[in-house]
């Protein structure tokens, strides 16, 4: 039951992009085409899950026993940055087709605050366990994928719209994201 609640809460109610404002940069940056947004979502799912797994273990078995909790930010960002590099190198070797699909997005992910954000948020869960933390990360990346792909499909249509001067580009994208976020607000109270 706990796990179903985490999933619904992460995907719909507290959507990581539209309600918690994490990962806004890729949300606006790579959402101009549906195909790139699918690639980005895959890369985020991959990195976020591994990163949360690694940071959870690091926090639980190294930082807390050693009383170094305050080094959380520094160590987490280092782990994530090196992990992204490692994943990139391994994918290149092990699975070239997957690397072809995700490769260009991987370096961008280091500065995706959603990855660091979820890694930190996962530590604050009730009765947190390794499985729960990883499930939390997977749910949040599903939420990210949903928001990103919907937004990319909307933006493909915006290209054709006739807009007032000055509204083109950034302002209209923000406005559309606002309306999308408003739609997701309707899920409040579901959990």
């Amino acid at each position: 039951m706990d796990y179903i609640l985490i999933l619904i809460s992460a995907v719909f109610v507290n959507n990581i992009v539209l309600a918690q404002f994490l990962g806004i940069c890729p949300f606006f940056g790579v959402s101009n085409k549906v195909s790139t947004s699918v690639g980005m979502s895959g890369a985020v799912l991959f990195v976020m899950t591994i990163a949360t797994l690694a940071t959870y273990l690091l926090h639980q078995y190294v930082l807390v026993p050693a009383g170094l909790d305050y080094l959380r930010t520094i160590t987490f960002i280092l782990v994530i940055a090196s992990l992204v590099q490692m994943v990139e190198i391994m994918l290149k070797k092990v699975s070239p087709p997957l690397y072809q699909a995700l490769g260009v997005f991987l370096p961008l992910i280091t500065t995706n605050c959603a990855v660091l954000g979820v890694a930190i948020l996962a530590l604050g869960l009730e009765n947190v366990s390794l499985l729960k933390a990883v499930f939390f990360a997977i749910s949040h990346s599903a939420g990210f994928a949903l928001a990103l792909i919907i937004f990319a499909s909307l933006r493909e249509h915006l290209e054709l719209a006739d807009l007032p001067k000055g509204m083109k580009g950034v302002p209209i994208n923000l406005l559309v994201a606002g309306l999308l976020s408003l739609a997701f607000l309707g899920f409040t109270g579901l959990v």
């Binding site: 080094l71 500065t111 995706n112 605050c113 660091l116 948020l121 000055g166 309306l179 976020s181």
Partner: protein
């Protein structure tokens, strides 16, 4: 390095021409995430400006010692150290703000504005130019976040810097302090900013 950079322009570019929020769209997560009131926006922007200033100073001082292959990880460590300092200082002295900003304080590390300035400016310019660049960008960020926070607070809770100017039972646009309001308010602020800057450019 190029001593001939016009220092006044160097400072001012961060406020109008290359405003980090309205023009360059850097640091969007905290911009949208914490601006439910003017005070939160200001607090976040000042914390970010401090980290930006310190990282620009350190990066420009040791830019010759950093091998170019590992410069990004090196910058990230420098930034993360200052973020940890900010985190501890806020927790100790302004616990109220620390609670309000929450997750967004450690996330200053991944604010692309700071890494962006370290990479694009401080690693190529001297100390004095880097300080001015950080101050200009910081002030631009403060203006943007405070304006957005103020707009959302006025519309959403009928107050400004926690000073309430409508009656207790007055209806306000609650929407604006909820997440969608952040996107919508920033959309119109960017629109207004665009119109104003294109007009002055003519």
């Amino acid at each position: 390095m190029a001593e001939t950079i016009d220092q006044k322009q160097n400072f001012l570019k961060g406020i109008v021409k290359d405003n980090p929020v309205f023009v360059m769209l850097l640091g969007m997560c905290p911009t949208l995430g914490v601006t439910s009131s003017a005070f939160n926006g200001l607090g976040m922007a000042v914390a970010t400006m401090f980290v930006l200033l310190m990282s620009n100073i350190v990066v420009s001082l040791i830019k010759k010692q950093i091998p170019s292959k590992v410069r990004i990880p090196a910058f990230i460590i420098i930034i993360a150290s200052f973020v940890t300092i900010v985190e501890m200082v806020l927790e100790a002295f302004i616990p109220f703000l620390y609670e309000q900003l929450g997750i967004f304080i450690p996330l200053i590390v991944v604010n692309c504005l700071i890494l962006g300035r370290a990479e694009a400016f401080a690693s190529k310019n001297n100390l004095w130019s880097s300080i001015l660049d950080a101050l200009g960008m910081g002030v631009g960020f403060i203006i943007a976040l405070t304006a957005l926070g103020a707009a959302r607070e006025i519309l959403g809770s009928g107050s400004i810097f926690d000073f309430k100017f409508v009656g207790e039972d007055a209806n306000t646009f609650i929407l604006f302090i909820l997440p969608p309001g952040a996107f919508i308010a920033l959309a119109y602020l960017t629109y207004i900013f665009n119109r104003l800057t294109t007009k002055t450019a003519k």
